[in-house]
């Protein structure tokens, strides 16, 4: 059985988020009023918040996961860690060292059943950037280096999960080869899981979530076809979560969303991070 390892402080899991920071990420995300870089940064900040929430016990945040965030394209032809002075960090360190805190509002139901607005502190770990070209290959290679070391230290852990969010083709070569090398990396519990999210800026674009075949993608879109090939086949636990949300998935569905708007981006991030947390011990 694969993807079955218990995730514990002794056997933590690993999430790496890769974010495209190229200039085109400053364009508005389809169906929203904000840029793709803003929505992507916000979505990943929220996802890290959710992961910390799930790892929080009365005595603090337990290190069930290591986390890495890589940005590519903030500086021309460069990929780098977006965490200050660190690459992979235990999740408790992220909880203790946000870049800044924001005051946000939420609605709570009071004892008399009335909805009241309440403020809470929301952490931000990285800011949106949209600056240069798209050195995705460099980003993937940096992730590969980190994962290589991590797997050597955690051979029995739940396999690493890598989530790549991008809006365009790589400008530093073909990422397919290094993506395949990534997917071939494994722990004793299974192969690395590589998720790809293609952000859209087309207002009425039809998103495709977890497609099963390349033929359903636009025939002339080489980038879509490439990201499909780069993505892992959804393992059963993830497939079940997708089915629970009434998504049409099959045994050959890929961990890929084409032409994603905000809803699809959030769905991909949530499903991509939720299945491993069901193995928390």
């Amino acid at each position: 059985m694969t993807y079955n390892a218990e995730i514990s402080r002794r056997n933590p899991g690993l999430f790496i988020f890769l974010i495209d920071q190229s200039r085109s990420m400053s364009h508005k995300l389809g169906g929203t009023l904000r840029s793709k870089s803003q929505e992507a940064a916000d979505a990943i900040n929220r996802q890290i918040y959710e992961l910390i929430y799930r790892c929080t016990k009365s005595d603090g945040v337990r290190d069930y996961f290591d986390i890495g965030i890589i940005g590519y394209g903030a500086v021309s032809d460069t990929a780098q860690s977006l965490l200050k002075d660190a690459d992979l960090v235990p999740i408790s360190r992220l909880a203790e060292t946000p870049l800044r805190m924001e005051r946000r509002k939420e609605t709570i139901t009071d004892p008399d059943g009335n909805d009241v607005e309440s403020e809470f502190e929301f952490p931000v770990w990285f800011e949106p950037v949209a600056n240069s070209n798209t050195p995705m290959v460099k980003g993937l290679k940096l992730a590969q280096q980190w994962i290589d070391d991590w797997i050597a230290e955690h051979p029995d852990s739940y396999p690493p999960v890598v989530i790549n969010i991008s809006d365009g083709a790589a400008t530093d070569g073909d990422p397919l080869e290094v993506a395949k090398e990534l997917i071939d990396m494994s722990t004793n519990d299974g192969n690395l899981l590589f998720w790809n999210c293609h952000l859209s800026e087309i207002k009425d674009a039809q998103p495709l979530t977890f497609p099963s075949e390349k033929s359903v993608l636009p025939p002339n879109d080489k980038f879509a076809s490439q990201l499909f090939e780069m993505s892992s086949v959804l393992p059963p636990g993830f497939k079940r979560l997708a089915q629970e949300r009434s998504l049409d998935v099959s045994d050959t569905s890929r961990a890929y969303v084409f032409n994603a708007g905000l809803d699809e981006l959030m769905e991909l991030l949530d499903i991509g991070t939720r299945a491993p947390t069901e193995n928390l011990q």
Partner: protein, 237 residues
């Protein structure tokens, strides 16, 4: 005992008793919420120290019991000093199961009445394969979504917070000299119902070392789920 791999202080189960009133309570704090250990302790303490008559319908006193337990839970947590990640999660409140048990003297032994919310169980063992259990009667009934007792929201909601009490199930019987009542949280309760090792457990009651060894073996062999474990036995001498 705590889940294997955790510290003793991580245990979120609680057990309280008052021998004079012959009242007992166990609770299994839910680990998906935080401060569940504090909540489980508050609820078992309030169950045995409150002036509640378990022979009455629990609908008559659960509201008051939860109100008092909430006050203990709320006051125990230093809300203002919590870092953001604890504060943001603690506002959702804590959850626990509960079994309360009270005895009264009766001609034939001790008459008892019990109420329960969730999947902690009472098992009345009368020797060999003769037992009854409630609120769950077979190992297949244990699942991951039991009914629970909620503390209500945490800060910034005020300490006065109306919580709708869950519906408790009741059970009663007579404890005689040749029988034993076990109160157990879910993992050990399920294991007892599945493998029926009541006699062995009874034999080990005076040796926590041997009991811990037995449970550790059972967890390692996957016959028992790795979880916080609480087992209480009550019998007449």
């Amino acid at each position: 005992m705590s889940k294997l791999g955790n510290k003793e202080s991580d245990c979120e189960d609680s057990f309280s008793f008052r021998s004079r009133e012959m009242k007992f309570a166990i609770a299994d704090g839910v680990s998906a919420s935080i401060f569940s250990d504090v909540w489980a302790r508050a609820i078992t303490d309030s169950t045995v120290t409150g002036r509640y008559n378990f022979f009455e319908n629990p609908d008559n006193f659960l509201n008051d019991l939860i109100k008092h337990a909430r006050e203990k839970w709320y006051r125990k947590i230093e809300w203002e000093k919590l870092p953001w990640f604890l504060k943001n999660k603690a506002v959702s409140g804590s959850y626990t199961t509960l079994v309360g048990l009270q005895f009264q003297k009766s001609g034939e032994g001790l008459r008892y009445s019990s109420f329960a919310v969730g999947d902690s169980v009472l098992i009345h063992w009368e020797g060999a394969d003769d037992y009854s259990s409630y609120p769950l009667t077979s190992p297949e009934q244990f699942d991951n979504t039991p009914k629970l007792v909620w503390s209500g929201k945490g800060h910034p909601m005020p300490i006065e917070f109306k919580v709708t009490p869950p519906k408790a199930l009741t059970y009663s019987g007579i404890l005689t000299k040749n029988s034993t009542i076990f109160l157990a949280t879910d993992a050990v309760g399920k294991w007892l119902l599945e493998y029926g090792r009541y006699a062995e457990v009874t034999r080990l009651l005076n040796s926590s070392f041997e009991m811990t060894e037995l449970f550790t073996r059972e967890i390692n062999s996957k016959r028992m789920r790795n979880d916080d474990l609480t087992l209480v036995s009550v019998f007449l001498e």
